[in-house]
């Protein structure tokens, strides 16, 4: 018989759009030292094409 885990006690929270935006902004500044607006603009302009820095993809993956 398997251990009964306490997984049912885990909080699962739906973020508001603002909360998610704040989090992604923080990640952009922490990892890349730039605002999310700047990152998004440069990303869409193709500035990071074939950029292999995992920090870039970590932020890019968070974009919708």
């Amino acid at each position: 018989m398997l251990t009964t885990s306490d997984a049912h006690d885990i909080d699962v929270v739906e973020l508001t759009a603002h909360e998610e935006q704040v989090y992604i902004e923080q990640e952009s500044r922490r990892l890349l030292g730039m605002s999310l607006e700047e990152f998004r603009g440069r990303w869409e302009a193709g500035d990071f094409r074939d950029n292999d820095d995992p920090k870039v993809t970590q932020v890019a993956m968070l974009l919708s």
């Binding site: 759009a17 193709g46 995992p54």
Partner: protein, 199 residues
């Protein structure tokens, strides 16, 4: 993971992930607005939370390591027998292990869309694990095949993280089973499914 409605499909997707991660940390889970109901939109799942404290990394017991896990997914309709009417399909993952001083140890990535030339699942070795004259670098994509969260949790235990339950191995096998049963690819999404994920 199938469900009778979008929320049920989301729950079926989330429950084994939550249970697996719970073998090594007490997860703090958050997801994008509408992430349990809205169809055909990419959602973010923050399995170790979204709090600014510690950059959403959680400390691994018995180690000087921390772990952060994010997944990306969509809720879709699927009219195949036993696959629907709703199910969640994964659209990427980002699992990261670092030292408590912030130095990267290993990253597990799959980002099938975007500007990177590497669309297949891969690993990045952290700079803290590489000598300055190493042949490998942090920027290299090391092919990994699709890695389940359960496999990553096994790796964390292998790195010294003390499991929270003595029978973690059985728990992880149990959590992983539905994913393995329903997944449609293992190494290369485009080659195996014959489809390309839309940008």
């Amino acid at each position: 993971m199938p469900g009778d409605n979008p929320h049920a499909a989301f729950s079926a997707f989330l429950t084994p992930l939550k249970d697996a991660l719970n073998c090594v940390v007490h997860p703090r889970i958050a997801f994008s607005p509408g992430g349990d109901t809205v169809l055909n939109r990419k959602h973010n799942l923050y399995l170790t939370g979204h709090l600014r404290v510690n950059d959403a990394f959680l400390r691994l017991r018995g180690t000087s390591l921390e772990f952060r896990a994010r997944m990306f997914y969509m809720i879709i309709t699927d009219d195949r027998d036993d696959y629907g009417p709703y199910r969640v399909t994964t659209r990427g993952y980002d699992y990261s292990v670092r030292q408590t001083d912030g130095a990267a140890v290993i990253d597990y990535h799959w980002h099938p869309v975007g500007l990177s030339h590497e669309k297949r699942p891969h690993l990045h070795l952290g700079s803290s694990q590489l000598r300055p004259d190493a042949v490998l670098s942090n920027k290299q994509h090391l092919s990994s095949g699709r890695i389940t969260l359960e496999s990553v949790v096994r790796d964390l235990i292998g790195l010294g993280s003390v499991p929270r339950y003595p029978d973690y191995g059985d728990l992880l096998d149990l959590c992983e089973a539905p994913h393995i049963l329903y997944r449609s690819w293992t190494f290369d999404y485009e080659r195996e499914t014959g489809q390309k994920i839309a940008e």
